[in-house]
Symmetry: C2
Subunit: 267 residues, 2 copies
């Protein structure tokens, strides 16, 4: 892929601040950036947005909202307040979407899934007012107790169809869904509700379920086929590279971006 | 659960030989043992079978056959020869089933799934002659590149229904499937095709995708609900405790069995 069709997610160079992420994306010719909210702490969002626009960089995603299942009503209120702040940040940056990491469960999966549905339905009117699209990210089943009870694209499709809003769609990361026998069919089903497409590769052994990922090409996922399926379904946006990797985080940011660029070039 | 309704899988006390596994199961009052083939190396199977029968211990499973996807015809023949030997061992022990760990894929998942189907269909007549039941084990999606491309109970049910033999069913381990939104419905669908039910608990962080498991009660899985769903579907056999855990493997075997027994008692 041409890097102009790709976006650099800030977590790929965890530790780098907003300006460094923007500079690296510009130097390498990326078409955009995906921004985790940690790099927005203390940053003037109007200035940041102008900086990115000036370089022709889109904001393909802000990460994250979500974490809807909470044990008490007060914690649910706190989570919802944080979600509204995330919507505000995505609005200020003109992001393509706010990624929803829906939240985990210990034990009562069905109850947690209900709280996810209800939480998104509650957030939707606020997002609509701001013109921000919400992207449910189905996450790998190994994260069901730590990150999200939405563990497959089929489940995410069921969820967004139940909510039935043109502003609620899918963020699809190869890492989370590559194993699924129903993947192609479910990508076609998602169609234009694909708001974000992200790449990370599957490498083993898993050393911590969050940050054992590989650059595109380091693992076993058919990235070219995955991107083609998303394009065929109607996804016309940039493709993000989002690599949570203790191994790459130990390298200097420019080396990680170099590796990401090489990996994307081969897709 | 009463331990007489449970079976001790040998891998829970990895490193223990056949006799030690049988002795531990008998001392603690288990109703049976599940045997990985490493503990059968060099063991006289007729004598072993008599030893177990004499103690009233069933053999609930032999593990494993499978590994059907192979890159060459010769390797497929070798895998099939090994599978026939596994069938012979399960027959000699009068085991309730031979567990199939179906095999992994790097890249071509659809091709690997086809080889799994064809491999089981090829093995079935041999298993029929021996009167051995084959139990497809759906495995956690995090093992798709290392152990099995059959990553959900729905997929396993689709597979065994396509093969359509009363001797081809399911080995269901809580660890591999607990996250699945369709689990209850798919357990009911499997019904009397549930040939084996195993328990292991989900604990994080994952340190290696094979052997990070917990004793029942150490993690977040609703074991009581899982067993109840299997019983309601018609499973009448013993429930195995099969814990692959670097943490527990570092303990002496009697301590691991003690912990397993305590965990099962609370289910």
């Amino acid at each position: 892929m041409d890097l102009a069709q790709c976006s650099l997610n800030s977590v790929t160079v965890k530790g780098a601040g907003f300006t460094e992420v923007a500079d690296l994306a510009e130097q390498w010719g990326f078409g955009g950036v995906g921004l985790w909210r940690d790099v927005l702490d203390g940053v003037d969002l109007a200035g940041a947005s102008a900086r990115l626009r000036g370089s022709g960089l889109r904001v393909t995603s802000v990460c994250r909202g979500g974490m809807f299942p909470q044990p008490t009503a007060e914690l649910r209120r706190e989570a919802m307040a944080d979600n509204r702040m995330a919507v505000d940040q995505a609005h200020a940056l003109g992001a393509d979407c706010l990624v929803l990491v829906c939240g985990a469960a210990h034990g009562d999966l069905a109850g947690a899934r209900l709280q996810v549905h209800d939480g998104i339905a509650e957030l939707e009117p606020y997002a609509r007012q701001a013109g921000v699209r919400l992207a449910v990210e189905p996450m790998h089943p190994m994260m069901a107790s730590s990150r999200s009870v939405i563990t497959s694209l089929q489940e995410a499709n069921d969820l967004i169809e139940a909510i039935d809003s043109d502003l609620v769609g899918i963020a699809l990361d190869s890492y989370h869904v590559w194993w699924d026998a129903a993947l192609q069919q479910q990508i076609a089903r998602a169609g234009e509700r694909l708001f974000s497409v992200q790449l990370a590769d599957w490498v083993t052994p898993i050393q911590g379920e969050l940050s054992s990922r590989g650059m595109p090409g380091e693992g076993c996922i058919d990235m070219t086929g995955f991107v083609a399926d998303c394009r065929n379904a109607g996804y016309a946006g940039l493709v993000e590279v989002e690599i949570l990797s203790d191994r790459w985080w130990a390298e200097a940011a420019p080396r990680a971006v170099h590796a990401a660029a090489n990996g994307l070039a081969a897709v």
